[in-house]
């Protein structure tokens, strides 16, 4: 891959050095920003986990005591189990849900029935939840599931003469899963829709000429094309559900009675409500360790070396 050009043959050593340094100069803003605002916080997280730091930010060495407290904390196993269930259920439902919507809007409406405007309209409707800022998104659902008769569902029940139900107190986890799934599914409809649209038209036409039903085409032609987006979306969902805390904080604040406290929210609560930075950092280290496992899978699946193309010039 040598593309040395005549005009540049007479380069000096200084030129050479400048060229070698050029990529690093281009990367320097990234290094500075990520160094100060990502790398340092990561190091601090580990350091603070060995201290009993509170809101006053005083360093006080505490050895392994935070980790011992985490191990001794009887709520940790329950929280971890709840987190795993939450992540698995949400991931499965949101991936299936978004594939379903993408198939309906893009395959059936756009391709099979040529109703492209309807397809686009529904795709935009389905994008709205993921475009909604989290405060508003949670407000809307708190309003739907609110406990008084001003709220949507209870208002309807009231009109029908049925006593209001305290939805968020009785079914907090179900509601949390529902709203998390909806926003996540909404965010990935485009991903699947564009994957479906990239399938060569003649393949689908050929199958149709051969008399294949829509369902058969979906299963045997479209699904194989969706394998990579599904992998991508699944891994990404696992990671993001694993770290979900903002919606939980806004919707239920982990309650009632800790029923919706996941691992990520538990960290937030310890650190920013109880101001136990030391304990919160120890928990964070554990969370990072767990998500690193998922991160390694992502890394394997992504095959970095094959995604980097050799530059086609010397300089």
């Amino acid at each position: 891959m040598k593309h040395s050009r005549q005009g540049k043959k007479d380069k000096t050593d200084g030129d050479d050095l400048r060229r070698k340094l050029f990529p690093y100069k281009m990367l320097s803003p990234f290094f500075v920003l990520t160094g100060i605002f990502v790398a340092v916080p990561i190091i601090l997280m580990i350091a603070i986990s060995f201290s009993s730091m509170g809101l006053d930010l005083q360093w006080e060495f505490a050895g392994w005591s935070n980790y011992k407290r985490v191990l001794a904390d009887s709520s940790i196993p329950i929280i971890t189990l709840r987190t795993v269930l939450f992540v698995v259920i949400c991931t499965v439902l949101s991936v299936l849900g978004s594939i379903f919507i993408a198939l309906m809007t893009t395959y059936y409406l756009d391709i099979a029935y040529k109703r492209e405007n309807a397809g686009l309209l529904f795709r935009i409707i389905w994008l709205i939840p993921s475009l909604t800022p989290s405060v508003v998104y949670v407000f809307i659902w708190r309003f739907v599931f609110g406990s008084n008769t001003q709220a949507l569902i209870n208002g309807v029940l009231d009109k029908l003469g049925i006593a209001p139900v305290t939805w968020l107190a009785n079914y907090p986890m179900q509601i949390l899963i529902f709203i998390c799934c909806l926003s996540s599914a909404s965010g990935s409809v485009i991903l699947f829709a564009s994957a479906i649209r990239q399938i060569p038209d003649n393949i689908i036409q050929a199958a149709r000429v051969d008399g294949a039903s829509n369902f058969y085409i979906m299963r045997k032609i479209i699904m194989p094309y969706l394998r990579w987006p599904i992998t991508q979306k699944t891994l990404w969902s696992v990671l993001s559900f694993f770290c979900t805390y903002e919606i939980i904080m806004l919707l239920t604040a982990g309650g009632p009675g800790g029923k919706t406290t996941t691992f990520a929210y538990y960290i937030y609560k310890n650190a920013f409500e109880l101001h136990k930075f030391g304990l919160g950092s120890a928990l964070s280290v554990l969370l990072v360790a767990m998500s690193a496992l998922i991160g390694l899978v992502v890394l394997r699946v992504t095959k970095v070396e094959k995604q980097l193309y050799p530059p086609r010039m010397d300089w």
């Binding site: 050009r5 070698k20 990529p23 690093y24 281009m26 990367l27 803003p29 990234f30 920003l33 990520t34 100060i36 605002f37 990502v38 916080p41 990561i42 601090l44 997280m45 379903f100 919507i101 309906m104 059936y108 409406l109 099979a112 029935y113 109703r115 309807a118 935009i124 389905w126 994008l127 939840p129 475009l131 909604t132 800022p133 405060v135 407000f139 809307i140 309003f143 609110g146 001003q150 949507l152 909806l182 485009i190 991903l191 564009s194 770290c243 903002e246 937030y268 920013f272 950092s281 964070s284 969370l287 990072v288 992502v298 992504t302 094959k306 995604q307 530059p311 086609r312 010039m313 300089w315």
Partner: protein, 278 residues
């Protein structure tokens, strides 16, 4: 003829999709209705009083006029978007199109950082911002926010740089331009759709930001998100009228949806991003 038959059957799918979409349409539709009605259901504009006057809501707390918050949100979101794109472009270009020591490792690091749980970094952010004196400043929140979301946007942008033909770069350099000049004048123009995607996405994410502002900025109601958050905290315990919250929410969401509809041609085209199927 068979083709015609198939098209006739569309109403079933249409109905089916429509019913499924009600899950989105009803709550959002109801919010819009609520924003213009009293609790009893009569039409009113009084829910929008935060547009022009301070509105008392509970225990002596007063809802301020919303415009300062809107302006703060706009500035915050634009700054975030500009910093994001400013750092993303040179980094993504270098990773995509240059050979240097540590290229593979840096890319792997990028993927790992992208997968890094944000909540684990909050305590570190708190400490860093406090140490360098950016606590309770928007600059600090912008840096933190951009720092966190850079890996994802760099990876996305790398995919756009990968697609730029090498001939363009060769041609410019044969004409005597330096690599940096080529990058600045030619290559950046070739990845405009990618830049648009990142600008819009990071603007929207800055506009929507709640958690970091809530944690690291002390004054209440400083952006639209915390303005609404102020009411949300009180929901359930007090009688903040749903209508007022709905009105504020509508004001907050509408620009997002409008911006999206305006830019959807660009955004919908390119959602696959940096990683491709292997």
């Amino acid at each position: 003829m068979k083709h015609e038959d198939k098209i006739k059957g569309a109403w079933k799918i249409f109905l089916f999709t429509e019913v499924a979409s009600l899950v989105v349409v009803i709550p959002y539709g109801w919010m819009m209705v609520k924003a213009f009605t009293t609790p009893e259901g009569a039409f009113t504009l009084s829910n929008w009083s935060f547009l022009y006057q301070e509105t008392p809501f509970f225990r002596g707390l007063v809802l301020p006029v919303i415009w300062p918050s809107v302006i703060t949100s706009l500035i915050f979101a634009s700054t975030t978007a500009l910093l994001q794109i400013g750092v993303t472009i040179p980094t993504a270009y270098t990773i995509s199109r240059m050979q240097f020591r540590g290229r593979v490792q840096l890319t792997k690091l990028m993927i790992i950082l992208d997968a890094f749980p944000t909540v684990a970094l909050l305590i570190g952010f708190f400490h860093v911002l406090n140490t360098i004196g950016l606590m309770n400043t928007y600059a600090g929140v912008v840096f933190v926010k951009v720092g966190m979301s850079l890996p994802g946007s760099i990876w996305l942008m790398k995919g756009f740089f990968d697609q730029v033909p090498w001939d363009i770069e060769w041609a410019a350099m044969v004409d005597g331009a330096s690599r940096f000049t080529t990058f600045r004048k030619i290559i950046i123009a070739a990845v405009k759709p990618g830049s648009a995607v990142i600008l819009v996405n990071s603007f929207l994410s800055g506009w929507a930001e709640y958690m970091l502002i809530n944690l690291f900025i002390y004054s209440n109601g400083s952006t639209v998100s915390t303005f609404i958050g102020l009411m949300l905290d009180a929901e359930g315990k007090t009688a903040v009228p749903y209508g007022v919250m709905a009105a504020a929410s509508l004001l907050y969401v509408l620009p997002v949806i409008l911006l999206f509809i305006v830019s959807q041609k660009t955004l919908l085209k390119v959602s696959q991003g940096g990683s491709k199927q292997l």
